[in-house]
């Protein structure tokens, strides 16, 4: 096989390279800097690197080539890079921006040290066995991991690469680059280490499995199309040459790999355990950014490579979307732990996002002023990410003697004790529930609309039912925080029996958690997230237009 050296378009790819470069420098820091100086150096380096990459992303956006079609204006923007293995186009850049923005939030949460009394939320020494002498020693010496920063940077790099990949092999490499650091980071919790390590192991085993599926699918599709390139696959699909069975099986296996990453039913089993076990800061980062990256890849794969084969994959996604929404919402409704509830709610959100993915129509069918499926999914991701990061950031604050208190029973009455924090949490939950005047509502509106316009009204109906169920569990938490202290000294009606239940509940209330005052890192992150959700709810226009201007994927 002849090997040709690809040309690298540094002008468009440099934000990606900056992230990987910073990750490598971080590893060097880890090797050469003295331990006590690593924390500051690593965290500052990470933030700076991400900021530079974010600025670069914005700059690259302005430099993208515009691709015009007569009569429709600009339909796409961007170019293929690195020997056509990468597609730097409008949606890609939009996703880069989102990933980078919320990675910065992730780094800030990682760097929080006030909550644990001077040390970070990560284990002192991951290699020390839980409960061992070595662990006690690491703890008394106040050690904490700083390797998480380079790990995070590698993951961010993988997340940026994932939706950019324009062939199956690059996509697989990106999948691994983003996943491996995440597996590690999940196991690094300072408290409840066994739970954390178990989560990491589960995530790794299931993740490795799903990667295997993806790779197998890639091989089959290669067998069908004779190429890994999305453009070639698309061409082959359009011409209908080759063995159709290979294509269908390959497509299914690729879908398994991607649907696992986004946490769609029936590949959602890892979500609650991993979200619960991982250090909450990691969960916040992972929940938001992995979903952004994986949906970018999913969209590109199905819209670009298999776009002509829509009639074959749409029924499959219909079923998966319906199952995901219902299972996510119903399972979330029976949880008694905040982190697990949020995990299942993220499954439900995956379902809502898939509803948007289903809203794709052939280019001619969409009116010029109408919102497109891609635009709606991009916007939904933009509203989902701040709400997720914000809620998990707040979860890190609510603590009792044993660290973070995530059981519902301990959140009772939080609204009376810390109205501001509970109010922010309630607001973010309302956004996730899709109540108007929040970003979540506009996001939900847009994905439902495109699906309805594409004729997928049964899915939209199920989505509405799932929304009603999800309202229930979000509102129940708000209820718990604000109204759990029913004043029983007031008029009670013994006959109705309603009052009585409340009385016992009040008496049995166990020790509750309180809000620990965080440093500016966490509180700033929360404030920015809440602000974003408010803005996206009140003036969604600019971001919607930005997502619309991104245009279509290029091939």
């Amino acid at each position: 096989m002849e090997f040709t050296k690809p040309t690298i378009e540094y002008a468009t790819l440099w934000p990606l390279l900056v992230v990987f470069g910073v990750a490598v420098v971080g590893v060097l820091f880890e090797a050469f800097l003295p331990r006590e100086r690593r924390f500051v150096a690593q965290s500052v380096l990470a933030v700076l690197g991400l900021l530079v990459a974010l600025g670069g992303t914005a700059y690259v956006w302005t430099q993208l080539d515009e691709i015009r079609v007569d009569g429709q204006g600009v339909v796409a923007r961007g170019e293929l890079a690195a020997g056509q293995t990468l597609a730097v186009d409008g949606p890609t850049i939009f996703l880069w921006g989102l990933v980078l923005l919320f990675s910065i939030a992730g780094v800030l949460l990682f760097a929080e040290r006030r909550l644990e009394g001077g040390v970070s939320t990560f284990a002192g020494q991951a290699a020390a066995l839980p409960g061992s002498e070595a662990e006690r020693e690491a703890s008394t010496r106040g050690l904490h991991h700083t390797e998480v920063y380079p790990l995070l940077m590698f993951a961010v790099g993988g997340m940026m690469l994932f939706p950019t990949a324009n062939d199956l092999l690059t996509m697989f490499v990106a999948l691994e680059v983003l996943s491996l650091p995440l597996y590690l980071m999940c196991g690094l919790a300072r408290r409840r280490r066994l739970l954390s390590q178990e989560a990491a192991l589960k995530y790794f085993l299931l993740g490795a499995f799903s990667s295997g599926f993806f790779l197998y699918g890639a091989a089959l599709v290669f067998g069908y199309a004779g190429s890994m390139q999305f453009a070639d696959i698309s061409e082959a699909v359009r011409n209908g040459t080759g063995n159709n069975a290979l294509l269908l099986i390959g497509m299914g296996l690729l879908a398994v790999g991607l649907l696992f990453k986004v946490g769609a039913v029936p590949f959602q089993a890892w979500t609650p355990d991993v979200y619960q076990g991982a250090p909450t800061a990691v969960t916040a980062f992972m929940a938001a950014c992995t979903k952004i990256a994986a949906f970018g890849a999913l969209l590109r794969l199905f819209y670009v490579a298999f776009g002509a084969e829509r009639w074959d994959w749409q029924p499959m996604l219909w079923v998966i979307a319906i199952l995901t929404m219902l299972a996510g919402a119903i399972l979330a409704a029976v949880q008694t732990d905040v982190k697990r509830m949020l995990a299942y709610s993220s499954v439900a959100h995956t379902g809502f996002l898939l509803v948007g993915v289903l809203g794709v129509r052939s280019a001619g069918a969409v009116g010029t002023d109408e919102i497109t499926a891609l635009q709606s999914v991009l916007f939904y991701l933009a509203t989902y990410a701040p709400a997720t990061v914000g809620t998990f950031a707040i979860v890190t604050l609510v603590r009792d003697a044993g660290g973070e208190a995530t059981a519902f029973s301990k959140w009772a009455g939080l609204g009376q004790r810390s109205p501001l924090v509970a109010g922010a949490f309630g607001f973010l939950l309302l956004s996730m529930a899709g109540i108007p005047l929040t970003g979540g509502f506009v996001g939900k509106w847009s994905v439902f609309t495109v699906a309805m316009a594409a004729g997928a009204w049964p899915v939209v109906l199920v989505a509405i039912v799932a929304s009603i169920i999800s309202v229930f569990f979000y509102v129940r938490v708000i209820l718990l925080m604000f109204f759990s202290d029913d004043d029983t000294s007031e008029v009670t009606d013994a006959e109705t029996g309603w009052g009585a239940g409340t009385v016992t509940a009040t008496l049995e209330r166990v020790e509750t958690a309180a809000v620990t005052k965080p440093s500016l890192l966490t509180s700033g992150t929360i404030a920015v997230c809440v602000l974003l959700v408010v803005l996206l709810g009140l003036v969604p226009g600019p971001i919607l237009d930005l997502a619309g201007d991104a245009g279509q994927f290029i091939r």
């Binding site: 109408e370 108007p436 506009v442 009603i468 009606d493 009052g499 969604p540 226009g541």
Partner: protein, 523 residues
Amino acid sequence: MNDFPLLTLLWVVPLVGALAVAFGPRGALAKQTAVVVSLLTLVVGVVVATQFDRGTDGFQLTETHEWIGAFGVHYALGLDGLGLLLVLLTVALVPVVLVAAWNDAPDDTARQFYAWALALEALSLVVFLATDVFLFYVVFEATLIPAYFLIGGFGRAGRSAAALKFLMFQLGGGLVLLGSVIGLYVVSAQAGSPSYLLTDLQQVDMSTSAERWLFAGFFIAFAIKAPLFPVHTWLADTTERATPATSVLLVCVLDKIGTFGMLRFCLGLFPGASEWATPLVIALALISIVYGAFIAIGQDDLLRLIGLTSLSHFGFITLGIFVFTAQGASGSILYMVNHGVATAALFLIAGFVIKRRGTSRISQMGGLEKVTPVSAGLFLVAGLATAGLPGLSQFVSEILVLISAFDYRWYVGAIAVTGIVLAAIYVLWAYQRIFTGPNPSVLQADVVAADGSSDPEMRQRVADLGRREIGVLVPLVAALVLFGFYPMPLLDVSNPFSESLLQQTGVTDDGPRVPVEAQEAGR
């Protein structure tokens, strides 16, 4: 003055007031601020009314700005006859409610109550003013948040469960409505460029089946809101657990959005489907009228009783809307206003009485007439207004609706009339059990047991209404009497609206027109 965004000012004033109360000073000052703000809003409302030209139909004082271009959504406000009456009802009732709730909660939490109440007022006003369906939907749903906190935060034990039930019903309806709102976008996008402006949507031609589906979504949401049988079950629990002041805001202002929406959106956007659904809707309305009255008779909890009477009244309002005559529509609009005033008075008096008696159980009251004649008298006036006694305002609206109902089908009218008979029973029987009869010794024992030796408290418990309480009730009762004898100002505003609405729906009004003057003479 023409370009001044008067309608925006109308909702911004209470919203800013809500924020000021929420984050401003604590204690009595917060309450005073809230009342001043609500009075300011009332002033703005009156100014709006003076700017309103009653002769012309269509929206006035309009403001239109693009909000979300990608969705064809505008920030568009406008006022027509229907909107004006409900706006005035809202701005007039809120100050009354705020003063009535003065001692409902301790000072530190009272601030929250006042802030949420003002927020609810602001959002409700936008609902009545919105001329863009998306904007309407957004605020329609957003009103639930303050309402939820008002129910869950203040009131009696079991209120948090009631709040949850309330919210689940309302949001369920809201999400069904969301389906229809999205459908409207799709329909309007297919017809050209997507737009949510009412004026644009009325031009859109939609297929019969699409129209019926969209209508169903809107109607279900409004039926839950109003409420109608069989989706009324949240109403009784909510009114029982919430404070009377909250109930006034909910039943007299917020629930009007349901019937308001039926007029503006169901009839305005989907006239064909509305006509198609008429038999079912009228059946539901009749069931609500009779069933609501029957179960109201059986209630032992005073607040629950009043809540359920509203089910019956909302049945009347819906009936008037769906008989498709200008007269019926006008009657319904009038009914909304009159029901708001009468029920508000009833709820507030009931609250005052319950506070004195320490119980809301009708069976444990009795004989209050002798001790508190003023509250007894006012209760009777408000109650009889609810029951449709001639000379009090609700009679006029009831008769308009009933005439239209008889015109539509004689048996519809006949069934509806029984609602009035039953109303007399639930009002008078409740009055009898609460206020008449021997002054029970329980009353005395209660006071002593609750209070021991402390005199002033004891006196307050059995004392008649204080000056603040009477001051709150007088304007309401005055309105009941005034509009009972002189409903013209209201009809002048509602008639042009109803006529243009029905013209636009293309339904010929072939019922015999009974001039309003004749009715007044005949009364």
